[in-house]
Symmetry: D2
Subunit: 386 residues, 4 copies
């Protein structure tokens, strides 16, 4: 144990009463003792904002009526009281304006995905990051799992040989009924193009699948052929995505994303095969990484188990067999963001260090994919380059 | 128990020493006591043919040097000694000529898949079946599993509601190295267009995946967008297939087939989702059918277990928990073929009876798919109609 | 392929209409083409006996009214027509008299388990085998699974080091209701001490668990502390067994057997740990053998997969990933019995050859266990020696 | 969201540098924002104590040299600064003296298990709790899992009918080598009778298994027959436990605990069967509860999924399919302890409310079991009453 720097003070944009993901962020931030919530603009509804602040032990003076007020108000506080980072957990259409404003006001930003409504907005954020020299992190939570880090490290080391196949699928069933038409809070804005962006399911979870595919395989997707479908009548954005992929170096693959796979919870699965072996990971059983070989029995590599490397070890808290889950994966992102700020970094550490976390680069790639998939879907051409 | 008709006498085309699938057919035929091997043209190599016959207790007089000789020779025997059906277990390029000749010589035919090299040949077989009024069965073995029958029956009954999504994947790893270039008997002809046909992996296992998808879902695939790849340098036919599917009634889906998924044994998986529920089946754990619901816990329906219907019960031999496997599924096809012959049928029984088995219709559909997938792959158009 | 000897001609004692296990034996005998059913005393009910014979294509002349009649009748036939072996699939109380009579009449015997009602009877059979020099096999079917053979071979080779722990559990739920009181054919005699023997669940499936534990571990159980329970009111024999075990060389363990584990199908699981590693096998997923190590990821060894040895390979028929099940395991016993007869053997081949199958030795051990467990249960002593 | 009371201020006894379980407690305490670490006596080694405090942002003034100093020092602080509870994460032999001293000094106590070295000590703690009217919680973490709560609630409601069978097994492999002899910090004291107590494996994890068995089944264990073994030469306390159980109302069962199951991580499994159904839960896949029925397919009830009741819902933080694990289960205990203190409670809420957490009652029962198991092991009697 070494002396520990002060907690990173943060404010939340969004995340008020009834919001799901805001509470998740607060747990992830609290878990390792590296963050402290000091203020927020939790809701545009004044009453809800106050109640949210109260329940979070935020005094009235730091429960701001708007993000603008929060940025201005905090900047008037002494540096050692002032928030240092803004966590953005609003609906998608507010990601860009909030991020750019926060960066320009001098704050670091940790944002929910997708990065923005479209690639144009994403590039605006990137420009703001460059301009302000602030740190920007993006909640591609699944890359925080120890076994995802292990998979990437093994593939990067050449363990599977030359990669040939990448299959990724992220399927859910929660939108299999028209709950968006019934005013379900989470479903409502996710199916509204003005607030969700170019893609529905594509933007919401297709981006997770894409980020994971590129992150683990270490390969860039070069072209996509996409079929975006709306299966629930009246819905305005895709609720199901199938896409053929062509990746760097001749690898090929498929990406599936669906929110109408009735009865499925949150099944994100990736399989990658090279000429020397294969790997498989399931988000719902996240502590196992299946590794296959042509000439010996397949192995189950386990979080904290024998044979794991430093990138996964650094993302693990308890001994093997004590399951770690989604919140721990999320906390891994938070811990790394805070450590980077404290060590003066303004970009995520290099991708193959144990300290890496997802940021601008992942955001730009995923929005590029969304744009290409939508373009391809609208054309009669088979392939669209990314 | 009721009085049982005499065993069905059959001859084999192919299946000599060293052949894998011939032995499988003989076990499947023997299992329920409904078939008897009486002759064969096991190999074009005379010595191998004789040794094969000897090991199978076939006398020299009925170990024929060629299929032609077998057809002629058997037709000279008294009707109650003569073979009644020909089982075709040769490489693909011999399927059509053997089937047509056997049908025209008056014999029933049970053939390995794929039906033929291409759709044109498949239609020739269909014409011969119509012309001769003989029974024709096709070894789409996986449709013989009890839980496949259960899945189809439940979907046909409307249990899942309107079908929206069909995902099927059949992946193997045995061709991940260039064993075909090294003279591996099974691999050699499967990667030779002259003997394998239009598709490599597509014809060999993509057809299984396609047949299963249409069979279980009860829906016709209407259009395909396919990416056929060769991942092992020097190979002449596709060893990996990814395809987007559009099915009847607005359902969409994906078909994957691969023989270069290094380390994977024989993973055929299908998932189907409707607006009321979803189902999932894995060939490597064939006695479980996972059924998911939007509003209650998911269920595992089991071969021989509680809640199964007559189509699966009719395909089961031992109590739940005593695993049944691939050979039993295969034997289900054999048993049904024999029963149909004995009851005078010349086509498979209706698809939703417990007595159904795959035949001409499945063959034509799968060859139509192969043709469309290859055509699509060669074009720049996104979709090709089937 | 080599020239194959004539099929082994067998007669059945029991196994008429409505019997479950008789049909299983016939499938197992038929599967590899090594056996031929030529006669039977299928039922003591004359009509049922005739109908059974008819359905099995056995002529009236060889459907015998009793085992005695079968033994006498067959011995009047010419040696090359006469049956060579008797398969005993009657309720337990008939195992001993039938086996002894058949042996004394000069026939080989393949019997269902448990060997007999008690150890005394088992020793009578053993004496008859010695006296007649005929082959005796016992249907400890689970030892026919490829992965059971693999587990034994690996442990025998010292792969797990010195064995410390043996845990075996065989649980079922089919007797969780009082179906025996309602005249259920299978349940009725299994819960009647006069026909089932000393143990209920203990004899019926506890013997399987015990045989597997000794067979795989290679260790002899030296002492037992047993708790035999009757959970369904009115039942006369134990329906649930828990036992502490002490084995050779200081290993310890537990044996569980139950027929009142409501909702469980046929869950036979064994785990063995040594000072260098551990193994786990589940009968309901029989093609996987889990092997654990202290210092590297655990492995899944698969039927027909990479890294398996000759004893499991010899018990496998189809490539890895094509599931083999209970009937194939059973057929492995039949194939080996027939091969041993044809090669002139009068005892099972040595236990660590691929040709081994269970016989007298396994029977005596299991009946010894039953006797010791019952004795211990009735005493207040903690341990009873075997 | 409602207004939230101030964080509960706590001090740690133990948990300094290099301690495993102390860090786990701090994460669990931090997760929901209900606790604040304000002081500690982290280590009897002064340097280590200071370094630990520093790394935890505890000022020098509240890093106490001993528990006694901490209790005295804190009591001199103003009530609104003073710690309110002591968390005990020392080796076992310090549990009792620390708990009693803390209680007598007016503090609430949350202690690691086992409660104490033996039953006598446990009763001393109980007396202190009664005397001081302070709250006492015990870290039977596994009862904090949502699906454990669900299992208990369903059984309590009669869903499985009358309970017949209880099987619980907690096996690990980390002590399969003599790491205790090599100075491994965790292993060292756990195998020393003076510091670990009456039981080795029995006390360390056998108590977890016992607590879970009684908690989920709702039944009291009435008698035990135990076999305690030492498998690693030179070890002074049992490293492996097998026990037969007799429970209230005629239920029977088995308890297994082992720390020499080579290669096994942390496999705690429980199966309970009643006359109407059965349940099964595995700690390493904690978000699934398998529910079996005699007359319909078995179900997988999932954390946060359809069909779950209030006791499990109250222990869940994220939607179904986002895995929750060990740390969340632990945090559930912490959250409940804090809520109880804030609402003025001095005992855990009633066992069938969502607010329940384990305390004195669980501690006394488990120490009673340890005592009976050791006594039985040392006697030749089969059964010892609890």
């Amino acid at each position: 144990m070494t002396s520990r720097p002060a907690k990173l003070r943060y404010g939340m944009a969004g995340g008020g009463e009834g919001a799901f993901i805001g509470a998740v962020h607060r747990i992830a931030a609290a878990m390792d003792g590296d963050w402290e919530l000091v203020c927020g603009a939790f809701s545009s509804d004044g009453d809800r904002n106050r109640r949210s602040a109260d329940s979070l032990r935020i005094g009235a003076g730091r429960a701001y009526a708007s993000v603008e007020a929060m940025l201005a108000g905090e900047n008037q506080l002494p540096p050692d009281e002032r928030m240092e980072a803004v966590v953005i957990v609003t609906p998608n259409h507010l990601h860009k304006p909030t991020a750019v404003a926060a960066l320009d006001a001098g704050f670091h930003v940790l944002s929910e995905k997708p990065m923005a409504l479209d690639l144009t907005e994403a590039l605006e954020i990137e420009a703001a990051v460059v301009r302000t020299n602030r740190l920007y992190g993006l909640a591609f939570t699944y890359s925080g799992y120890p076994m995802v880090a292990e998979a990437r490290a093994r593939i990067a080391s050449g363990e599977l040989g030359r990669i040939r196949l990448v299959e990724v699928a992220y399927i859910q069933g929660w939108l299999s009924e028209a709950i968006d038409a019934d005013g379900h809070k989470q479903a409502d804005w996710r199916t509204d193009p003005a607030r969700a962006g170019l893609g529905g399911c594509l933007g919401d979870i297709g981006t997770h699948a894409f980020q994971l595919a590129e992150h683990i395989s270490g390969l860039t997707v070069e072209a996509v052929s996409a079929d975006l479908n709306i299966h629930v009548p009246g819905r305005r954005l895709d609720d199901d995505v199938s896409a053929l992929l062509r990746l760097q170096g001749g690898a090929t693959g498929v990406l599936r994303a669906s929110q109408v796979a009735t009865g499925v919870e949150n099944d994100l699965t990736i399989r990658i095969f090279g000429d020397r072996g294969g790997m498989e990971w399931h988000q719902m059983e996240p502590n196992s990484l299946i590794v296959r070989w042509p000439d010996r029995p397949f192995e189950i590599v386990r979080t904290g188990g024998a044979g794991v490397g430093p990138s996964s070890t650094a993302r693990q808290r308890v001994p093997a067999g004590h399951p770690e889950g989604y919140l721990e994966a999320f906390a891994n992102l938070y811990r790394r963001f805070a450590q980077t700020v404290r060590s003066g970094g303004t970009t995520p550490p290099p991708i193959d260090t144990p300290e890496w976390f997802p940021g601008i680069a992942d955001g730009i790639r995923t929005m590029t994919f969304v744009q290409a998939a939508v373009a391809n879907h609208r054309s009669t051409e088979k392939w669209t380059q990314l």
